[in-house]
């Protein structure tokens, strides 16, 4: 094949990049149009804000999952980790008793510290134990889940102090300039995530590791450190998600965070990150999380899907969303 140097113009390059990253957004727009056709109430500001706010936990967790998956790993423990973190956070605040900012800050600190430690544990076992991440995190998933059941003795861990509950409540239900706080939180997390993944050498190392571990090793990438860090980032994201989650219902139960790991992974994949690693798309992930929540919302708002078939239609919509993406890829 004849290979000649053809310098491409900068604008053309940029356009191509945009098309690929835009694919999940296009799927999102199509869903919104579909939703509006099904029920006019869908397009009300309150409904849309509800949906996007609800997607915040999964979106924040999925930003962390983007790092883990882009580096070629997997974390199945995030749902259980969220439940355990929420439980420990509430227990910490209950042990303080007083309804002031100090108690709240202590609880938040405990949550972030615990979830980061859980992530560190996952990371160290994966790297130093040289065990498949699927198995490691399947194991810790069970451990974290059992710990929360044990802490709750099978029941519910609730913020006992009602004043504290009211003090904390705005973190989920409050707004800043009309935008719900959870939305601001997940936009912030996604922005920082995108900055780290796209603009730092750590982010570049994550992608290199996911592309080909051997090449990364031969290129002097500190693979153990990078891999462990991805799990810690995942842990911290779970912690942040919990900070937003706890004020909603003020409690943690053994069913908190059930199947969140699968939702997070689905959001990551819908967003265009390769499940085998090597490509990471933070903004796509966020859109993926919103798409998941939108699909559930449209199901409830629609009148023609029997409650028995909701799961099937949801599954079909997710697959169609992926197909839309693929066709956009190809059409580029």
């Amino acid at each position: 094949m004849t290979e000649t140097v053809l310098p491409t113009r900068a604008e053309k390059r940029k356009f191509k990049m945009d098309m690929r990253a835009l694919a999940p957004f296009i799927a999102l727009i199509i869903l919104i149009i579909a939703g509006a056709l099904i029920n006019p109430d869908f397009l009300t500001a309150s409904n849309l804000l509800n949906v996007v706010t609800r997607s915040a936990f999964i979106a924040i967790i999925a930003v962390g999952a983007t790092f883990v998956i882009a580096s070629g790993g997997l974390d199945l423990s995030v749902g259980s980790m969220a439940a355990l973190t929420a439980g420990v956070m509430i227990l910490t605040m209950n042990s303080q008793g007083s309804a002031d900012m100090g108690t709240l800050a202590l609880g938040m600190l405990a949550a972030i510290a615990l979830s980061a430690a859980c992530g560190l544990a996952n990371g160290l076992i994966v790297t130093f134990g040289r065990i498949e991440p699927f198995i490691v995190t399947l194991g810790t998933m069970g451990i974290f889940r059992s710990l929360i059941i044990w802490l709750a003795a099978g029941g519910t861990i609730t913020i006992r102090n009602l004043e504290l509950r009211e003090l904390y409540r705005p973190v989920y239900f409050g707004t800043v300039l009309g935008i719900p706080v959870p939305i601001i939180a997940f936009l912030a997390v996604a922005s920082i995530g995108a900055l780290i993944l796209y603009r730092t050498s750590f982010g570049r190392h994550v992608v290199a590791l996911g592309s080909n571990e051997d090449v990364a090793r031969y290129s002097g990438v500190p693979i153990w450190r990078v891999r462990t860090l991805t799990y810690i980032i995942q842990g911290i994201c779970v912690g942040i998600a919990v900070l937003v989650y706890v004020p909603r219902l003020g409690s943690a139960t053994p069913t908190t965070g059930l199947l969140w790991e699968l939702q997070a992974i689905t959001a990551v994949v819908i967003g265009g990150t390769a499940l085998k690693g090597g490509i990471g798309r933070v903004w796509g992930t966020v859109v993926g999380a919103v798409i998941l929540e939108l699909v559930a919302n449209i199901m409830v708002l629609s009148n023609f899907v029997s409650e028995f078939l909701v799961g099937a239609v949801q599954g079909a919509i997710i697959i169609i969303a992926m197909l839309v993406q693929r066709s956009v890829h190809r059409g580029r």
Partner: protein, 506 residues
């Protein structure tokens, strides 16, 4: 004699780019027809058209004088045209017999008949002159044996034309010699053999006729009689190639930069000691599997090993490649696709990966600086690419090697270790890589070249250390450099004997 397969005025375009234009070629029964050309000359495309993998844009194929079009490689195989791929395309966890019959299993009452397949495998392998166990898993075979299995798999179907794509790229001289015996046997059976190779000496040894391609055009078809490798090279490149190797730089000094004592890698290397001097090119010769790669991987911390490493008089130990790079030592893997480059990523990301710190401003990567570096690398290393947005995996072998060199030079190393610098690289690019290696030494760096090509070691290096079975078999100084000297140390026998052994073996 009439041709069995004939191509007439074949052209092939991918989009607006024409990669083959107006090629004619005929293959006669009982001849070995070599197709040579630089990477990108269109050899592989031609081969893929002849074996039915892709259809030509213009022109026609004739089988036994009848025009024919193939619907795909399976169709071409049904017509007796088989291709032995350059890459090993076998399932590593299946046995030899299972691989041979993969997708065409012999069945008995609806179940696979392992016994019959094992018998047939044994027969065909014996015909090829080897006694590989049909029940052995392919992952436990040597590269050369895998190549034989691949050939056996191709020859399993009734064949009139057998095409070999760079079959000796991974073989030692002895193994290559037995392959030539197989090819000669095929020729004696009246089969037409199409042979693609970079190694002009081999072409001279095995081919009857040679077709030369350059830039997708047909340059010449000649009988091998009176066609010497140097002339083939001139036809391929379009200019005089008598000076393939640069002058050896006169910078080799007595100043030792690196001294290695009693290096050992469990299972691969024992008691290896050597020194490397400033401004010199030190060759490492030996057969594949002699432990050269493992030795240097252990040296730079990529695998576990023991021994004393002294760098500039100070004892050092590297736990990973990062530490070695920080000390100014880089290792360029022989396995470019598996360990050198991220094939799924673009050139920019590949280029800066090893020296990312140099492109970081504050906490963030300076993409503009990366782009500038890529411009520089494309220019300095003459990386030829259709577009700079290409993925590394879309580059040809030679351009991948240039990109890998550019990537590692960004680390600004003082010691450069290059493993098989020209494997899978065409002759024009080889010349560029050789002169680049010489310039590294001329700048005062120390260079180690690990190579299985004798000519390369002789033409390029000041000294050559030869390894055999994980130990240093000896060292050849510049004055004494000859193929025979290296082969003797590498195998323990002289060159003519090696050919005889191979012949007896086959």
């Amino acid at each position: 004699m009439d041709s069995v397969l004939r191509a007439e005025n074949i052209s092939k375009s991918f989009g607006p780019i024409e990669v083959l234009s107006g090629i004619s070629l005929d293959l006669k029964p009982g001849e070995v027809h070599a197709v040579i050309g630089e990477n990108g000359a269109g050899k592989s495309t031609l081969m893929r058209i002849l074996s039915g993998h892709i259809a030509p844009t213009k022109g026609s194929l004739h089988l036994n004088g009848q025009p024919i079009t193939f619907s795909g490689p399976v169709d071409a195989e049904a017509h007796g045209i088989v291709l032995v791929h350059q890459e090993i395309l076998l399932a590593p966890d299946l046995t030899v017999a299972q691989n041979l019959f993969l997708g065409r299993e012999i069945k008995r009452y609806g179940f696979v008949d392992d016994k019959a397949m094992r018998e047939q495998t044994r027969d065909i392998l014996r015909e090829l002159g080897t006694s590989i166990d049909p029940d052995r898993e392919v992952s436990r075979l040597s590269i050369a044996d895998r190549q034989l299995v691949q050939i056996a798999r191709a020859l399993l179907v009734p064949h009139k034309v057998v095409a070999f794509d760079e079959p000796t790229a991974v073989l030692t001289p002895i193994e290559a010699e037995s392959l030539f015996e197989i090819i000669r046997k095929l020729r004696a059976q009246g089969v037409a053999v199409l042979y693609i190779s970079h190694r002009l000496n081999e072409v001279k040894a095995v081919a009857d006729r040679v077709t030369v391609l350059r830039d997708g055009r047909h340059i010449a078809t000649r009988d091998i009689e009176g066609l010497e490798p140097l002339e083939m090279a001139r036809l391929m490149v379009g200019r005089d190639m008598s000076k393939l190797y640069p002058e050896k730089p006169e910078t080799a000094s007595d100043q030792t930069v690196l001294a290695v004592r009693d290096m050992a890698v469990p299972g691969f290397v024992e008691n290896v000691s050597f020194t490397l001097r400033r401004g010199e090119i030190l060759g490492f010769g030996g057969l594949i599997g002699a432990g050269r790669t493992e030795l240097f991987e252990a040296l730079v911390g990529l695998r576990a090993g023991t021994g004393t490493i002294t760098l500039d008089g100070k004892q050092v130990h590297f736990r990973d490649a990062r530490e070695a790079m920080a000390a100014g030592i880089v290792y360029l893997s022989e396995d470019r696709k598996g360990k050198g480059l991220l094939l799924q990523q673009n050139l920019r990301i590949n280029l800066s990966l090893a020296a990312l710190d140099k492109f970081t401003r504050g906490s963030f990567i300076d993409v503009a600086a990366e782009e500038t570096a890529l411009d520089g690398a494309i220019k300095d290393f003459d990386i030829r690419t259709r577009s700079r947005d290409l993925l590394a995996g879309q580059l040809s072998g030679g351009n991948q090697q240039k990109l890998l060199l550019a990537k590692m030079m960004l680390v600004e190393p003082r010691i450069v270790i290059i493993d098989e610098p020209t494997r899978g690289v065409d002759i024009g690019t080889k010349e560029q890589i050789y002169s680049f290696i010489a310039s590294l030494a001329a700048e005062g760096r120390a260079v180690v070249v690990i190579s299985s090509e004798m000519q390369e070691l002789i033409g390029l290096c000041h000294r050559v250390v030869v390894m055999r079975n994980g130990r240093v078999a000896g060292e050849v100084a510049q004055d004494g450099l000859s193929e025979d000297a290296i082969v003797y140390l590498a195998t323990g026998v002289h060159e003519e004997r090696a050919a005889e052994i191979a012949a007896g073996h086959a």
